[in-house]
Each structure stands twice: as structure tokens, then as C-alpha cells.
Symmetry: C2
């Protein structure tokens, strides 16, 4: 079969032609993951140098895999001293990560192996580093913008060359697990935990295992009913409990080493414990008890809110829902339950404050949920490198206790003192030849994996790494792509909804401008723009949302003078005439940012056109098509949003630029 897809950042472009060199690799100990590490090194080095890579005995090898029981799980130490290089680890996964790290460093340094002098010790910042797939068994992907599922087709499981390459990409970025199916409609995937799928799923699991990836399955809370056995899913019902115990036993017998289950309950129409007057700790703990004997985890999604809201109701505030639902349960969850919490209180808008639940929970381990599939951020037709945004989220100090209380600290369990926690990303991959639709969207796949592994990394470092690994040592390519990546999120934000207000998109598919798109809907997502003012008062004088934050943060957001202006309309209702610190009023800010955003999107296209001939033809053609579309769409956003506010206010642009009447 001809390979038609790209290797992304595992392309390994030639550094130096060394056909006469033979590099030997040896390992102190053995195992399937170590075996993969060797093959990854062989593949990478042979591509980077056109050299030979063979196995040797430990004492004579150029690269030696050493066992170091002192290193924490998944950690590694690399010691490269020109003529010798060792990768030490406490477990096999450490060797694999070390091998990928060595290959990465060689490309950064752009030197032969025997010229590298480098020492690095890394232990992953987060024990859980997950890709969350919203793949459906028929093969489509909810909010997928890069083709159909890599894992499912026509209600069958795919096990093929791409399964392996997916695992290579995920592991090399630093991921250590994945949820394979769509938790939003997990009830449609009952067969995943049935005899029909155990065999192919086990084959897929074996591939993942070789790359250190734990498989998780999203299940529906009502599986005991859906699978035809029981009339209830009440978590306190002994029949339900024993159903899950039997099912867990069966699942782990067939899929030993399975990571656990993900559950979305009582959310957006999915059933859950509330149907039985029980709370989410009852529900999660019941499942946790069932999977505990096998080392299984329960990843419990906290995306619970009233999705039948009435826009005329100005008291209910969807932003408050997560905190309201889960704070009363803090400390009530089993040790093998992890609460999965979206970064913001709404739903992956281009800008939101950090969910107050993250600062609220003191005794509960958390998995941060971010979204790299670009549902609200351009659907992989627009470039939107999200790592600067994720960096801001992780650096947000929640000011919630005397200890370290940045989001990055809290998800690592520094407050609750529990060992699990981490980062999960709603995946942006599919069977498109380049994996992610937009070639530059692969930087988000790579980037969030890297950040989850090493939470200290900057978005700049990650961007440069990714460009170098993907397109080789080409200064002009690096300069242009780095600039575009680093500016892409701010530019996208400029031509979207202003100042943290969100939701000015088409309902349902979430693409394209529609200023009133969610205004009269049932989703609790309103800006309430009228001819004088816009925004939601979420202070204690308004919906009271700010009170969900610790005092310092509450104070910051509560006061319109100190509230970060990029989110000011999320927290405050303000007149168009309100003067921002830039010296512009809100209306002019809207006009200016929309003109600027569209202008900058046009510049992206020009800059990409400057890379013609420097990028592979297919990559250039795809990028050119998408940047052209982005330019046109940005103009559409600019004009629709500007016209919306112009029609509302009758106030023209101060600089006389065209706003359509």
C-alpha cells in the first residue's frame, strides 16, 4: 500500500549525509516498548543521516538504554557526550520518551549524533496526558475537521498502518493515553464493551500499548439499561452495581491494562445519576468501585448545565453551573475518580476565564479538558495555534490556597495531594492525509502533548520545535510559520466576538459569524447587545458568578477597572461608549479589531505565498487554499460583526472605513 499521509513532526528531514556511519543501539533490558524505542531511533537516525542503525551489546553501543530505578515513572535522563549516549529510565516508557527526545534534540542542534553534547532529565509533569476522541462508530467524528475516524468505519474497528502511525505521533508528543470513542454519545457505542469488539479492540490496544498509550473507553451511564439487562441505572441499586462489576470483570479480562472509562452524565441530554435523585459522587464512585480491582480509572466529565434555558431568564447563568454542581461534592470521590473539567465555564470559546471549579476543588483530583479540534476557533480552516492560550490558562493563579495555586499546580494535584490528574485534549485528528486538515493544526496536537509532558514549556519553544521537526532547518520557513503561529490566536480572536463575549457564531455547526446566532436560544449563551450596551453583568450585583472565585480573583473580576479587558464583556455589561485603557471606546475597539483581524488574515496569506517552493507542493497547496479561505472568511466576520453593531448604534467608524449599512 502506497503511503499517502504525512509523518508530521516525525518526518526526520536529512541533517547530514552519513551513509558510511553505523550507529549501534543496545539495551540493558527488554520489552515491547523498549523494542519500539529502538525501532523509532533506527527509523529516525537513518532518515536524519542516511546512516545504518543496528543493535549491539550494551558495552559497545553508541546509544545505550539503561535502567535507573531512581527515576520516577515515565521519566528519563539522557546523557550525550559525543562518543557515547545513554538514555536511562525507571520504566520502559521512559526509554521511549528519551528516544524521541534524543531525536528531537538532534534536529534542534542539527548535528551528527557523535557531535552532540547534551544532558537532560525529564519526568512528565502530569500523570494523565490524554487525547480525547469524539469518534463515532459509523466513522464520523463529532466536531472533526480532518476527515473521518482513524479508528472506526461502518461500525467496525480499524486496525491498520495508520493506527501505528497515530500511536507514534501521540507517544512522540508525550501523550500516554486516549479515549477512543465519543463520550457525547457513548450510548451509541455499547458494542465497544461487548464480545463483538473485544478482539479487534484488543489488537488496537496492543499497538497503543507498545507506544505507552493507555486505552480508555467512553461509556454511557445507562449501559445496564441500553445493553438490555436492567430497567434502571440507579447507582445505589445493587443490581446496577453488580451489573457494572460483572461488566468490568468481563472488559478487563478481554482488555487487560485498559485505562478505564470516561463518562458524560446528566449533560446535554445524556442521562445520569440525577434521574434517580442521586448525585455525581454516587454515580462516579459506583463505577470507580467496579473498575478498581483492575486498576481502572473513572474520568468523569463535569460539563453539566441546563441546556433548556430561557433567554428571557436573566438570573440563571450557565457559567455558574459547573461550580454549583460539583463543589458540594469536593472530597466525596474515590481515589480512582478524576473530574474532567473544561478550561472555561462555558464551552471552548476563543476567550474565557478559567473555570472557577478548578480553583474551588480542594480535595479532588482533576483532569483539565482543553479542545484542540477547532470547534469555535476556525475548524481547521483557519490557523489557530492554541498553545499561547493554553499557557495563559495554566499560568492563571486561582489564588485559592496558601500553596501553589496556578492551574498547572492544581491539576498536578499539588493542592489535593492526590497522585492523578493532568491534561486532556479533545483531538483534532482524522484520516486526512496530513492528519489534522490544516497542516499547521498539527502544531496543536504536538504542542498540547509536549505541554502536558513538560508543563514549563513556552508556546514559542514548542512552535519552533514543531516547525523544525516538521519542515527541517529552513530559516525562512521557520520565521514565517513561527510568526503566523504565534499571531494566529490573537488574529482569530480579533475578527471574532469581542472582549470575551463569545458565541457570535452560527448555531449547531459553530462556524462563521452570526452575532445573534445564540441570542434567543436555549443554550444560556447571550450577549444581550442593544443599541446602547452589551455584555453580561456576572458580578455579585449581577448573576453572582464572580463569587465562585477566591477573594483575590473575585475582586479582580468584580471591578471593571481591574478586570482584564480582553474578558471585560464576559464579566460586565458596558455601554459602547465605555473607554478602554487603550483610549478607545468599546464600539471603536470592535471596529478596529475587526478591521485589523481581517487585514492580518490577509497578510498571513501573503506571507504563506512567500513560502512557495520552500514547502512540499502538497503542503503548500493545502495551506494556500486554507489561508485564502481564512482571508475571505475573516472579511466576512469583519463585515458582519461591524455591520451588526453599526446597525444597532448608527455610529460610524472613526476612520471612515467601509462598514456596510
Amino acid at each position: 500500500m502506497k503511503k499517502t499521509w504525512t509523518n508530521c513532526w516525525l518526518e526526520y528531514p536529512l541533517i547530514q549525509d552519513q551513509p558510511d556511519v553505523t550507529i549501534t543501539v543496545a539495551s540493558e533490558w527488554d520489552g515491547v516498548i523498549i523494542n519500539r524505542a529502538y525501532h523509532e531511533l533506527k527509523r529516525g537516525l537513518e532518515s536524519l543521516y542516511h546512516c545504518q542503525v543496528t543493535q549491539a551489546v550494551v558495552t559497545t553501543a553508541d546509544i545505550r538504554f539503561l535502567k535507573d530505578p531512581g527515576l520516577s515513572a515515565e521519566g528519563y535522563t539522557i546523557n550525550a557526550k559525543k562518543d557515547s549516549c545513554t538514555i536511562s529510565a525507571g520504566d520502559e516508557k521512559g526509554i521511549l520518551y528519551g528516544s524521541f527526545a534524543l531525536l528531537r534534540q538532534l534536529q534542534i542542534a542539527q548535528c551528527p549524533l557523535h557531535e552532540l553534547t547534551w544532558q537532560e532529565t525529564k519526568v512528565p509533569s502530569n500523570p494523565l496526558r490524554l487525547m480525547i476522541h469524539w469518534d463515532n462508530l459509523p466513522g464520523d467524528i463529532e466536531r472533526g475537521y480532518a476527515g473521518d475516524s482513524l479508528f472506526f468505519k461502518n461500525n467496525h474497528i480499524l486496525v491498520n498502518e495508520r493506527s501505528i502511525d497515530y500511536a507514534r505521533l501521540a507517544a512522540s508528543a508525550g501523550f500516554n493515553g486516549l479515549v477512543i470513542n465519543n463520550s457525547n454519545v457513548a450510548g451509541a457505542a455499547i458494542e465497544l464493551i461487548s464480545d463483538r469488539f473485544y478482539a479487534p479492540l484488543s489488537r488496537l490496544q496492543e499497538i497503543f500499548h507498545q507506544y505507552g498509550l493507555k486505552l480508555f473507553i467512553a461509556v454511557d451511564f445507562t449501559m445496564p439499561m441500553l445493553m438490555g439487562d436492567l430497567e434502571t441505572a440507579d447507582p445505589t441499586d445493587p443490581d446496577v452495581q453488580s451489573w457494572w462489576q460483572r461488566k468490568a470483570k468481563e472488559v478487563w479480562e478481554n482488555l487487560p491494562g485498559l485505562g478505564g472509562f470516561m463518562v458524560k452524565a446528566d449533560s446535554e441530554g445524556r442521562p445520569g445519576p440525577y434521574a434517580y435523585g442521586k448525585n455525581h459522587a454516587d454515580g462516579a464512585n459506583m463505577l470507580a468501585d467496579a473498575v478498581a480491582p483492575y486498576g481502572g480509572l473513572i474520568l468523569w466529565r463535569c460539563f453539566v448545565y441546563d441546556c433548556q434555558q430561557d433567554w428571557r431568564d436573566t438570573v440563571t447563568d450557565r457559567a455558574k453551573a459547573g461550580y454549583d454542581h460539583y463543589m458540594p461534592l469536593d472530597g466525596c470521590f474515590r481515589d480512582n475518580v478524576v473530574l474532567e473539567i473544561k478550561n472555561g465555564p462555558m464551552d471552548f470559546q476563543v476567550r474565557e476565564p478559567v473555570s472557577p471549579l478548578i480553583g474551588g476543588l480542594a480535595k479532588t483530583q482533576m483532569l483539565l479538558e482543553v479542545q484542540i479540534t477547532q470547534e469555535y476557533t476556525g475548524q481547521q480552516r483557519h490557523v489557530c495555534y492554541l498553545l499561547p492560550w493554553f499557557r495563559q490558562i495554566l499560568d492563571q493563579d486561582m489564588c485559592c490556597w496558601e500553596g501553589p495555586s496556578k492551574v498547572s499546580d492544581l491539576i498536578q494535584g499539588k493542592r489535593c495531594g492526590k497522585p492523578l490528574g493532568g491534561i486532556s485534549a479533545i483531538a483534532n485528528t482524522g484520516n486526512d492525509p496530513n492528519w489534522t486538515g490544516h497542516d499547521l493544526a498539527a502544531a496543536n496536537f504536538y504542542g498540547i502533548g509536549r505541554l502536558a509532558f513538560d508543563i514549563s514549556l513556552s508556546p514559542e519553544t514548542i512552535a519552533r520545535e514543531w516547525i523544525r521537526l516538521t519542515y527541517g532547518d529552513q530559516p525562512k520557513v521557520e520565521e514565517v510559520l513561527f510568526d503566523i503561529l504565534m499571531n494566529s490566536w490573537p488574529v482569530y480572536e480579533k475578527y471574532n466576538a469581542p472582549l470575551g463575549i463569545g458565541w457570535m457564531c452560527n448555531p449547531g455547526f459553530h462556524y462563521g459569524p452570526n452575532p445573534n446566532g445564540y441570542e434567543y436560544s436555549r443554550w444560556g449563551t447571550y450577549h444581550r447587545a442593544d443599541h446602547q450596551a452589551l455584555g453580561i453583568d456576572r458580578t455579585t450585583a449581577g448573576t453572582g458568578y464572580t463569587a465562585q472565585y477566591a477573594p483575590n480573583l473575585q475582586k479582580l473580576y468584580e471591578d471593571v477597572e481591574t478586570c482584564p479587558e480582553e474578558m471585560i464583556l464576559f464579566f460586565h455589561r458596558l455601554p459602547y461608549s465605555y473607554m478602554l485603557k487603550t483610549g478607545k471606546n468599546i464600539l471603536q475597539h470592535i471596529y478596529d479589531t475587526h478591521f485589523e483581524g481581517a487585514e492580518q488574515a490577509a497578510q498571513f496569506l501573503s506571507r504563506i505565498e512567500g513560502l512557495a517552493g520552500l514547502l512540499p507542493d502538497d503542503v503548500y497547496a493545502r495551506m494556500h487554499e486554507r489561508f485564502t479561505l481564512q482571508k475571505e472568511n475573516a472579511e466576512e466576520w469583519r463585515d458582519v460583526v461591524n455591520t451588526f453593531f453599526y446597525r444597532m448604534t448608527g455610529i460610524p467608524d472613526e476612520h471612515g472605513r467601509t462598514i456596510y449599512p
Copy 2:
């Protein structure tokens, strides 16, 4: 099989118990349609009187079918003189229509047959009286709100008891033909004109034929390509022409008596002659020549416009498209081509002016296309009796020549002097037990058939007939339902988009309020409401649409003083402060009508509740559910539309009623 569906207006509720009476029926001549007429009389009379109905010889019969060659096609004369009743006709269909007319009259008079003294001669006003089904082969119905298709299921044709009952309903209302499949996606139905479907289609056709219904099939203009034979569909290509000639021969050999083909070409993404630089006369005539040897017709839909419009373009006006496309071709069509023209220039909004094309075409026969499936008028969840609207349309004088120039005259061919023309209705039927979802929506099915047959009928007459036939002689039921039916269209209009502006609905599914729903879209459907004004200037100073009307009408619409106010925002852009003849300005008119509309919708519910016990339980339950929903939805419309304009203007209701901020 237990019958679970209703008979609608063929229920024949008891008039008088006459178990000892035997009514005899005899016919001077024979045929399958006459045989049906006898069985319909037998079924109806036995139900109305619990009497016996048998066949007799002509001289002794109570009811005699006589042949009268002097009567025009499909016409009948009934002469009921207590002891004898004759139904005379020039053809079999006349006998069938006369039989249904007799049964109808007996129910209106509420007397035994032998007490009826009545004389009536009727010849159908329109030669074409068609139900247009947008049924898809998988079984769904585009814009269907009454269940799945009666004709298709899982890509098979259904021939069953409901096929017969559909034919009975359609014939008794006065229809004489139907298009069975969805012309909007006719390319998906290529199998209808292939060996796979001829046999079952022929069985269905036979049922229709017995009730005087001609079967029409919607075809795609590119069938020669879709069916795999040719690389072009160019109507001037000899291969294309002979393909269609061969196909027509094959079709009529298998389906003799077929009415013809319907075509939607160059419309909403469907391909057509324009792709080959040819015009629509080229396209229609080529097909017309192919089907002419078999007496086939081509029904050519005129719904052609640019559906990739840019909202920023204020010059292009979708309303002008039909006239612009077809006027240059007036007189160029074959005699067996009929142009099918929507009543308005846009698309079945709750209020539109009559399409200027209808007044424009002088030499071309036309089929008026109206929509009884309630796409934009409440989707059979709201009651909306459309006959008052259709009456207005038919009565509109187009002032386009010295002869009779009402729409009803023009579609009858009084101007072009050609024999074909008539009325077609996009059907509102489906496999719901009551056929039309909302029980009261059956009045539209019945009503448009009756109106097409007898174009002089008033909506009031039709409503009373339908109520009486459906629910029997119950004065209270008649009073309430008549009032609701007659007020339903005005009420629906009140809480919808104001003053002819249209399109304030959710895109795609066209249900529910969304004032900006189509505002920035590609569909050419804008109101351009801002903080001061709204509406489109379609005068000669604006888009020039008014110039498509004859001088008198143009003058009427052009002048804001004479323009009918219910359509004033369709023709003029006006400030909210513009004073209507009611003494209200436009903004207050919007507020008032929306408050009134919701209030009246609530009254509908109360009035229906007064019929508890008088309607069959299932009918009452269905109605109650729908009127409850209508009440709630009308409040939603009221609040969303009022809030939209309040936010835009900041001007409160003069009467201080609640408008949500």
C-alpha cells in the same frame, strides 16, 4: 390489518338511521372510474344512512349515471329531484366528481337522499389540479410535517391500502394528478424511470388512474449523465435528444397514461440548460418534444435565482430573478410545456406580492405553485388555514392586458389562449394517522383541491364544507373551528415577521423566530433592520423590482401612500416612526401585532378546550397538544421579535407591556 388512520373529510358521519332503505345505483356506461364512483357512493351512503346500496338497471335506479357528450371534460351535472337523482357527465371522471359532489351536498343539507332537491353543473376551472409531493425514495419528505412518505420506504415503492385512501381523498377534493417524487432532488430518484420501479409504479398508477389522478414524475435535467449513458445533458446535443426520446418511449411503454415530467433546473444547485449556454426554452422544449408523442407534459419550475448572493450587495434583488429569467422566453415554449410559478417572487412566505412573472407572461401557459405543507407557516404545529391567502392571490388583478387579468384568469389561460394551466400545491400529507399532522391542516389539502376545481369558491364556504364533512353536523364544533380556521392565517402573520418583510425564521428548518436568521446569509433574503429603519426599497429608485409589474400595479406599489400596508416593508424601506393608516407607527404596529397574535393563539387553545367531548378523543388530544405548543411558540415569537426591535431602538411599548430587555 386494523385501520388506524382517519378518513378525513370522507368520514361520512351518520345523518339519519335508515337500515330498511335500499338505494340503487345504475350507470349507462362502464369503466374503472365509474366503478369507483359507484363504490364511493355505496360506501358514503351506507355510512350516512346505514342503508343498503346495490346496483340496478338504469331505468329503475335511484341514482343514475348518464352520459352527456355535451359536457366538457371532467364536468358533471347533478339533478336531484327527491325520488330520482341523475349524475351526467361527458367522461368517467365527471361521474366520479359528481358522485363526490352528491355525497357532499347530502351532508351539507343533512337530509335523506330522497328529500334532496338540488341541481348543479360544474366543469373544473383548471385543467391541471396537482398535488406536488417532495417525497424522497428513502421515505422522508422534504418539508414534510406529517410523518414519512406514503409512497416510498427504504428505496421501495409502497402500494397498499393507504395508496387507495390517498387517491380517494385527492379525487374527492378535486385533484386530477400528482407529482410523486421530490423535484428538488430528482437526481436521487433515477430509478423511478428504470426497470427497477416500472412494475410497482405501474400498480400505483393503476390505483391513481381509477380515481382520475394522472401520475407525474420529477426528473433531473442531467438524467442522461446520471444514468450513466452520456457525458453531457446539453439540450441541443443530438445524443441527448435521442436519449430522452428513447427514455420517453421506454417510460410510456411501461407507464402508459403517465402525465409527464416535472423539472427543476438551474435552481438551488440543480443543474440545467445554463451549464451549456442554453436557455430554459431550449431545455424544456427538448424534453417536450421527447414526451409529445405520448401526450406527455413538461412541468417546468421557474424557481431560479442566485442562491450565492452576498448580503453586502444591495443591488441584486432575488425577487426580480424569476421575471428576469423567464420573460425573455415568453412564447418560446412548446404547447406541452407548462411553466410552474410560485405565487410570490420569494418563497412561500406568510405574505408576498404576487409574482410579477404571472402578469408578465402573455403567451405562455402557467401552473400556479402554492405550498400547503406549512414550511414557513407553522409546520403543521401551528394552525394556518391558507385558503384566505390563496383567495387573495387568485383575486389579485395583475392589470396586464385589456382582458380578464386576475391571477385566476391568467392561470386558466384566458390571456395566452392555451388550454393547459392550473394550480399545484406542494403537498402536506404523510403517513401520520390523520394524514396531515395537524388535524386542521387537512382543510388545506381539501381546500386547495376544491379551489382548483371551482375557482369561484370562497375560503369561508370551503371551511364550512370541510368542517361539516369531517366532524359532522355539530354547530358548536363548526362555530369554533370555522372561527379558528378563518383567523389562523392572520394570527400567524401577526406574530411572525411584520408587514411583508418575511424571513425572520431559523435558517434551514424555517421554524421559530430568528429576526436576523437570514440577514447575513447567501439567500438574498434581507430586511436590513437597523436602529432607525427597516425594509427593502424595491421601487424604481431602489432595486427596480416594481418595474416588473404592469403600470397600474407598479404605480400602486411604488407609492408608499398607496402600497398595501400589509406588504409595505416588502416594497419600501421605512423608519420605525413611519405612521401607518391605522394611526400607529411601524414600531408600535410590530409590538401590537405581536402581543395580539400571541394573545389570539392563546385564545385558540381556550376555544379548542371548549370542544372537549365533542371531538373524537384522539383528534382532541392531538389538537390540544398542537394548540398548546402554538400558544407557547407564539409567545416565543412575540418576545423574540419585540425584544429584537426594542434592543435596536430602545423605544418601549406605548402600553407598557412586557418586552424583555
